[in-house]
């Protein structure tokens, strides 16, 4: 059994430890976002034509599938989640899609999502 002095010491230490501030950084949230995308268990790349598809699924398909998007910089994914500006090269598609989380697209016909072919 601990004595009163020991109890007070431990109570003080535990109390101080409980008060330690902890706020996940934006960089951590970006890494978590990248992880969630990378190991997403139901890849939407298999969604049937005309299905409602999320922004990330469109982006992933446009860039070559989920493994590719998981290799994007964490900041890119963080931009999707946290609301930061996306990298310049993704501005166009992001601006088109940012207003709503879901859009309806003919998924398998998305051959030129960035409008680069003329």
């Amino acid at each position: 059994m601990t004595n009163h002095s020991d109890d007070k010491m431990l109570d003080d230490l535990f109390g101080q430890a409980r008060a330690t501030p902890a706020q996940p950084s934006d960089a951590l949230m970006a890494r978590i976002a990248a992880d969630a995308v990378a190991v997403m268990p139901a890849p939407m790349a298999h969604a049937p034509k005309g299905t409602r598809v999320g922004f990330l699924a469109v982006l992933a398909a446009a860039l070559g599938g989920w493994p590719v998007i998981s290799g994007l910089t964490a900041a890119t994914v963080a931009g999707v989640w946290i609301g930061f500006s996306p990298p310049q090269s993704l501005d166009t598609i992001a601006n088109d899609l940012w207003g709503g989380s879901d859009i309806t697209v003919p998924f398998l016909e998305l051959s030129d999502p960035f409008g680069l072919e003329g």
């Binding site: 020991d6 101080q16 330690t20 950084s25 951590l28 268990p41």
Partner: protein, 199 residues
């Protein structure tokens, strides 16, 4: 960030519903879950580890495990928060064990606005380092029980559920853990500024 209509509906959804939605391909559900859970996980980890970088690693690792288990999550069998307490306390004790093996670490020691004096801050840091080291010296199960009781302030029945042991075993672990902590810290009482606290 503006909430989309879909996110607005998700914000009020239970953890388990969000996890299942993620397992079915809804990345927005994972977003809401991460924003909800990451601060809690981070808080639990930093209380035990007193190290910001390690606490962030634990937070990322714990959520990665959650994403991976999503398709196999058995509805109604366990609460996600209970599962996470177990995962996080295990990950933290792993980090403490590495520390016991002599891995050098940087401490938190992050200055804050409105912080106390430098001397007070130094003593606070010394105290937290001492507690962290003393926890690292405890047997793993004692450290986990003490942390869940005195850092997370959970009740013994909940700790028993998290650790999958009886309430009596929890009580025993906590009592032995606190006794060992007190013995470990006793030689440092004066350094930690506690002897002056005596009446």
């Amino acid at each position: 960030m503006n909430k989309t209509p879909n996110q607005g509906a998700l914000v009020d959804a239970p953890d388990e519903a969000l996890l299942i939605a993620y397992a079915n391909g809804d990345i927005a559900a994972a977003q809401v879950l991460a924003v909800r859970l990451a601060p809690r996980i981070m808080a639990q980890a930093i209380r035990m580890l007193q190290n910001h970088a390690e606490a962030e690693d634990v937070t990322q690792d714990a959520l990665m495990r959650l994403w991976k288990i999503a398709p196999d999550w058995r509805q109604g069998e366990a609460q996600i928060t209970t599962w996470l307490y177990r995962v996080v306390v295990n990950l933290c004790t792993d980090h403490l064990r590495k520390r016991r093996r002599g891995v050098a670490l940087d401490t938190v020691a992050e200055p804050e606005s409105g912080a106390p004096s430098v001397a007070q801050q130094m003593q606070d840091d010394t105290r937290m380092t001492a507690l962290r080291d003393a926890l690292a010296d405890l047997p793993e199960r004692q450290a986990q029980a003490v942390a869940l009781r005195h850092l997370e302030e959970l009740g013994n029945p909940e700790i028993a559920q998290i650790m999958d042991i009886s309430v009596e075993a929890v009580e025993s672990l906590i009592a032995r853990g606190k006794r060992a902590l007190a013995q470990s810290l006793a030689p440092r009482k004066a350094e930690l500024g506690f002897e002056n606290d005596e009446p």
